[in-house]
């Protein structure tokens, strides 16, 4: 510490008052500028925690913890030499001697002072407002107070129907209270929405059971009859409530500046210039406490922009704050709402297009310039898919298409919702406002090889803030990849200059049996987490050797390596196979007893089986020993392999069933279990066209008909739902299985890395027709080969858990430490809905992260 202080004598001392989102962003910007040698950083916060994500505050009631919401941690600040003092409010600035003084009497000198004091909730001067259970909604402490109050309350009222008020209402609702919103204005979200949009929002919110009371001014809060309080309104009506939350807007936290004689606006706010300097040039103000051109910006993006400008200016760079777009998109009480630019059409000559679908409950209004060429603003409720596109059109002052209405009409073909027209966005267009990422920046990152969304996000930070631009970022990524076209490097990774299908051919034809062999003959380097599992999977598809054999073990992803699915805390889940979802009561009880014995969190999966979570490495073999002895097999939920065959109960019990779907499903699951593929494979069998097993959403789906089976392929649920294509009709059992054998092997041979059958089928040249020619007509003369390969793979099946249990050498690995019987000492759990879950407490793991 002494060293730090001595060093800092020669450095410029930068002091930041307030460690909220904007204050932290400022600090982070300076950290990233890497000017440690020239500046020392110190921050004071009156809150007990370092910066957290206030935008996501509601999530605190939906299971997110303080740690989840944290934007930084003490380690990070320590590591970058940022000195911080929490729980101590700066109460005075002595600008003459360049010193601040805190509530506890601490004094600190500065060369540059940055005020990021934020705002406080405005509480209207209503008599009775200061009683217990009358709260505000701003900080995590406020939320703790609300949660505490909710425990003793049945009804809650939010005063204020603006953006924050509705978020607060959502919080009350998620705490299980009967919730009401009281708004002074005639409509909800009066700033962002027009009458039409607000009316629909109101309708939707009321449908959720939230009471909405507009045009109500509260005169007093008195003792209630049915509830704790009664709010009397000016129109002689009232509501009763047990608690209330004021969310009637924010006021800049400018008290410190006021006492220090800095210039303030008439209605508050610390006056700043374009460089974010206050009337004292060595004192800056950023975020919600700052007043720029008579405006307070109550959103985080403009605050971030100010942080960037102030940091640049202090570092001696040219920068100016030029205002900020206040467009916003969010989900309020589950309702999608967006507002862009001049949402009220106040610009002179503004005209508008309105689309209002009362059936689907969608409202869209587009405000355009008098010459119908430019977007001025928009209001979207119920469907905000056009948001990014419209926002970009406005921000970049782009000329509208011939018929601007097409931008808000559903399926108009104009592509508003699908993002077509991205090419026309100028390179300077800002895609992510939280991190100021431009289109050019994203294009460059893609060109440099960040070809997956996660790579792109971690490289550019785009859409890692509020996430509002994530769809747009994905679209840009896709269009850039497409535009790069043949330039796209199809090589699996830097170690193999081959595509996956090419590697499959090499493995098959040259009968390569190990990764080491393939790397030597066709690759370079040491391999990586891309090529190792991919090649491991190919070897397993064709030779189906035990995946934990010495040459294969190092290739497997952790899930395959430990034959379980790794969870967030490093423990694993256990999924026994329950073919077709059919299970005897005894076996069900047995699973229950295992779960009880090992205190495993238990959940039914979408694939009609049971997932047991929270098993530690050393427990896995004990659990599986019991399961295997009781007649269970591995469910291979950990592998990119055949998962489940979902089935309805079929003709055995169902009045409508016309075939034994369940018996057939069990046969199919037995046949293909253990098959490894480019990605997971899901099947389903329905006993009639009612389709209760949802076969059309599976990779392979079968539906019974009067004359046999209809076969569907390439269906998918999940992230990218797709209905399977009808491949063949009225098949008998034998032909059906023949087709499935061929289909699966053809897919395994020709799919790219990680492709599900749906994506593979869509990218297959010639599409479904070609696939039929290959599988049904045997156009390539491959049918026999494919069936033989499948037969071989099936013949090599083994329950990987059974094999492992019989192998003491392998079991050695199922222990957290190689040299100790201890288990991982850092696992901590808490109870939720009567079961345990990993604790998110920041104390869960406290360990040295950095080498000295």
């Amino acid at each position: 510490m002494n060293k730090l202080m001595n060093n800092s004598m020669s450095k410029k001392r930068i002091l930041v008052v307030g460690n909220g989102m904007v204050g932290h962003r400022f600090i982070d910007t300076l950290i990233k500028a890497d000017e440690k040698d020239n500046y020392s950083l110190r921050t004071f916060s009156e809150e007990p925690l370092l910066a957290y994500d206030r935008v996501q505050l509601t999530q605190y009631f939906n299971g997110k913890t303080k740690q989840d919401l944290a934007l930084t941690d003490s380690d990070y600040y320590h590591q970058h030499g940022v000195d911080f003092i929490l729980n101590d409010k700066v109460t005075r600035i002595e600008a003459g001697s360049k010193k601040v003084i805190t509530a506890s009497g601490r004094e600190a000198y500065y060369d540059k002072l940055v005020l990021a004091t934020g705002s406080y909730p405005f509480v209207p001067p209503i008599p009775g407002k200061d009683q217990a259970h009358c709260l505000v909604y701003r900080t995590l402490d406020d939320l703790d107070a609300i949660r505490l109050s909710a425990k003793k309350s049945k009804v809650g009222v939010v005063i204020g129907g603006g953006l924050l008020g509705l978020e607060a209402a959502n919080a009350l609702k998620s705490l299980g209270m009967e919730t009401h919103v009281v708004e002074f204005a005639p409509r909800l979200m009066a700033v962002q929405l027009d009458d039409g949009g607000a009316a629909l929002l109101r309708r939707k919110i009321e449908a959720l059971g939230v009471g909405v009371h507009t045009e109500k001014a509260t005169t007093e809060i008195i003792k209630g009859e049915d509830c704790r309080y009664r709010l009397n309104f000016t129109d002689d009506t009232y509501v009763e409530t047990d608690m209330l939350v004021f969310s009637a807007g924010i006021r800049p936290q400018d008290e410190l500046a006021r006492q220090s004689g800095l210039d303030l606006g008439q209605r508050g706010g610390i006056v700043i210039n374009d460089q974010c300097q206050t009337s004292d040039p060595d004192i800056y103000a950023i975020g919600e406490c700052a007043l720029w051109q008579q405006r307070i910006f109550g959103l985080v993006a403009p605050g971030y922009a100010m942080a960037k400008v102030a940091a640049a200016h202090i570092l001696g760079q040219e920068a100016a704050f030029t205002g900020a777009d206040m467009s916003t998109k969010l989900k309020l009480l589950g309702v999608d709402v967006a507002s862009i630019g001049d949402a009220h059409g106040k610009t002179s000559g503004a005209q508008s297009y309105t689309y209002h679908d009362e059936i689907e409950q969608v409202y869209k209004r587009l405000i355009v310039s008098s010459d119908n060429k430019k977007i001025l603003g928009a209001v979207l409720v119920g469907d905000v898919s056009a948001y990014s596109h419209l926002l970009q059109l406005m921000l970049n002052n782009m000329t509208l298409p011939e018929n601007p209405a097409s931008l808000i009409l559903p399926n108009s073909g104009a592509g508003a919702a699908t993002g077509a027209g991205l090419e026309s966005l100028p390179d300077l267009a800002q895609i992510c406002s939280c991190f100021d990422v431009s289109k050019a920046c994203i294009k460059q990152a893609v060109a440099e090889g960040n070809t997956s969304l996660s790579e792109l996000k971690s490289c550019t930070k785009a859409s890692t803030g509020c996430g509002g631009c994530s769809a747009l970022v994905k679209q840009l990524l896709d269009s850039e990849l497409l535009a790069l076209g043949h330039d796209v490097d199809n090589n699996l990774c830097e170690h193999f200059a081959y595509t996956r299908p090419e590697l499959v051919d090499i493995v098959r034809i040259k009968k390569v049996k190990t990764f080491d062999g393939l790397l030597k003959s066709h690759g370079s380097g040491l391999g990586c987490e891309i090529c190792k599992p991919t090649v491991g999977s190919i070897l397993a598809s064709f030779w189906n050797e035990y995946v934990l054999e010495e040459p294969h073990m190092g290739l497997q992803d952790t899930n395959d390596r430990y034959l379980g699915n790794m969870q967030k805390d490093g423990t694993y889940s256990v999924v026994p196979r329950i073919a077709g979802g059919e299970i005897t009561p005894d076996k069900l009880i047995f699973i229950g007893e295992i779960a009880k014995e090992f205190d495993l969190y238990t959940k039914i999966t979408g694939g009609q089986r049971i997932d047991l979570f929270g098993a530690q490495l050393h427990e896995l073999p004990i659990i599986w020993r019991k399961l295997v002895d009781a007649g269970f097999e591995t469910g291979q939920a950990y592998g990119k392999s055949v998962r489940t065959v979902k089935a309805c109960v079929g003709e055995t019990w169902c009045r409508f069933g016309i075939n034994d779907s369940l018996g057939f499903a069990i046969d199919i699951e037995d046949r293909y279990k253990g098959l490894r593929a480019p990605n997971k494979l899901k099947f389903a069998v329905s006993g009639c066209t009612r389709e209760c097993a949802e076969a059309q959403s599976k990779d392979v789906g079968m539906i019974a008909t009067e004359n046999g089976w209809n076969l569907y392929v390439g269906g998918n649920g999940g992230m990218r739902p797709r209905h399977g294509d009808l491949f063949a009709t009225n098949l008998d059992d034998k032909t059906l299985i023949q087709y499935i054998d061929r289909f699966l092997m053809f897919y395994i041979r020709s799919a790219e890395k990680g492709q599900r059958t749906s994506v593979w089928l869509e990218s297959l040249e010639g599409g479904l027709e070609y696939l039929k020619q290959v599988i049904i007509d045997d156009k390539l003369g491959l049918a026999q080969e494919l069936e033989t390969e499948m037969a071989y793979s099936i013949s090599q099946y083994q329950c990987e858990w059974k094999t492992t249990l019989d192998n003491p050498e392998k079991l050695k690995r199922f222990q957290h430490f190689i040299n100790s019987k201890q288990s991982d000492p850092h696992l901590i759990y808490e109870i939720e809905r009567e079961q345990r879950k990993p604790s998110n407490n920041d104390q869960r793991i406290k360990i040295l992260e950095v080498a000295d």
Partner: protein, 109 residues
């Protein structure tokens, strides 16, 4: 003077898959490359995924550098100096490691 402590046999690392060793009260992820036979020891704690899992990641190379990829979120860590390739301000602690006869030994860094 470094104090070397045996944690496992070289044989335990043959498959190229890592193991986790307890060194005092520190968790150390230990790897041996199948191609080069080089040994590596880094902290087992994944500072991004916040769990003790690095030993269960896949090792490999990125542009000549030996790396391990976190089994949770796949970031790469340089096995020689512990630096995270994706988030350079994250770093795993590294430990001295050697082969002593058939035994793999670690020392405090």
């Amino acid at each position: 003077m470094k104090k070397w402590i045996s944690v496992c046999l070289q044989h335990d690392l043959n498959s190229g898959a890592g193991i986790c060793a307890l060194l005092g009260d520190e968790q150390v992820a230990v790897f041996q490359c199948r191609q080069t036979q080089a040994l590596y020891a880094v902290s087992n704690y994944d500072p991004i995924g916040k769990a003790n899992v690095i030993s269960r990641g896949i090792m490999g190379s990125i542009k000549e550098e030996a790396v391990v990829s976190s089994p949770l979120y796949k970031q790469h860590f340089n096995l020689s100096n512990g630096l995270c390739l994706q988030e350079p301000d994250r770093q795993l602690k590294t430990y001295p490691i050697r082969l002593h006869g058939r035994e793999v030994q670690l020392a405090y860094g």
